[in-house]
Symmetry: C2
Subunit: 228 residues, 2 copies
């Protein structure tokens, strides 16, 4: 069975992406990061999802991105609440974590090379939330080119490394529908940037609002219980 | 003064690269990694060098690359000793750490974005030691392209991020000469992959042999005291 490294935050998108990779027949090695995020609770969701979806292995790697700061998720900047779609569409939000996907993909690349895996999966999405520069297709394509020069594959002519982004052109409603088709139990996932009491989704941050919008537009009930 | 993030292992190459960046007039933010390397002693050299060269700040970030393994530097694979130039020229050595420079540059990119720095320095060298895929000019160029799409700069049209590799086309002798011209005290640096008693350079691993070759060809005495 072909091996794939799958980035897994524990949210809807990365969990759906992992379910997709499993359905494609890959033996999946799930990789999560304890990077100093204020919503560290998502790591428990990642562990639940990795187990439920039959990942061969689930690693949680620690990297202290609080050491750099520069984001509402990794410093004491407040997480914005109750923003409307116009707000969300205007510029890069303060929840952007500098170079996060570059860092995560780099570490996934290291693990893939050790495993002899030529496939990486990442649940980035450029449609309903294009505020993050490192969720865009042109970034993914450039990373793939770089990755194939960075590793043994680039020198020894081994299997070309492919970065799979099955959600990149889906709407949030489309992702919710895909999750249902793949049989993902969305109650295992966790999306909120700023959970109440560290565990209950707030329902007001951008991540919660986009998740709720996706479920509403897909006509599916979100199994999570929100603080409000 | 323009800010630059400078990768600093504590070895000759990265220390010379930092000295070069300082001479170019940059305010330097030095970045080192405690990544589970067996030659962790190099971090003490990095701290000495950062201080001696007047870095504004020196950060040491911990990432557990032993979690992935796959290299003599991050697992229990033995470090090769007494290899000759023919051995060194044939294929990628077991001291190659999968995706290491990609990971290090990604984290440097994150710090640069937070600092508002548009310049990264890395002391890679493709001449006397071309065994590592992530030391090649084509890798650096691809990383630079990717980095400019990964960050706010790519979306908001800020300053183009430049990766400087002043040593890339120098021989080891050339690097030794450059270090002298820049006034670097090479006695502060540390190069060995497998130090004896954790602190004395072995003189036999590839890194020691290449360092000694560089000093010999430059006609300069290496101030380090070797185990043998």
């Amino acid at each position: 069975m072909r091996r794939a490294v799958c980035l897994l935050s524990g949210g809807m998108d990365s969990s759906t992406c992992l379910a997709y990779a499993r359905r494609q027949g890959f033996a999946c090695y799930a990789l999560s990061f304890d990077y100093g995020q204020r919503h560290r609770y998502e790591l428990e969701a990642a562990a639940r999802v990795a187990k439920a979806l039959g990942a061969v292995e689930h690693k949680v790697l620690r990297i202290d991105l609080r050491s750099f700061g520069g984001s509402a998720l990794t410093s004491d900047i407040a997480v914005p609440k109750d923003r409307d779609e116009t707000d969300m569409g205007s510029g890069i939000p303060v929840t952007y974590v500098p170079a996060r996907n570059t860092i995560f993909l780099s570490l996934a690349l290291a693990w893939a090379e050790v495993l002899g895996a030529a496939d990486l999966f990442i649940g980035v999405n450029a449609i309903d939330y294009s505020g993050y520069p490192d969720c865009r297709p042109e970034f993914i394509a450039a990373f793939e080119t770089m990755a194939n020069l960075a590793t043994k594959a680039g020198v020894e002519g081994q299997a070309f490394l492919k970065i799979h982004t099955p959600l990149i052109h889906l709407s949030k409603a489309g992702i919710t529908q895909l999750a249902r088709e793949l049989g993902l139990d969305c109650g295992l996932t966790f999306t909120c940037y700023d959970p109440v009491d560290g565990a209950r989704p707030c329902g007001k941050c951008d991540a919660c609002q986009l998740r709720l919008k996706g479920f509403a537009e897909a006509g599916i009930q979100d199994p999570l219980v929100y603080a409000d």
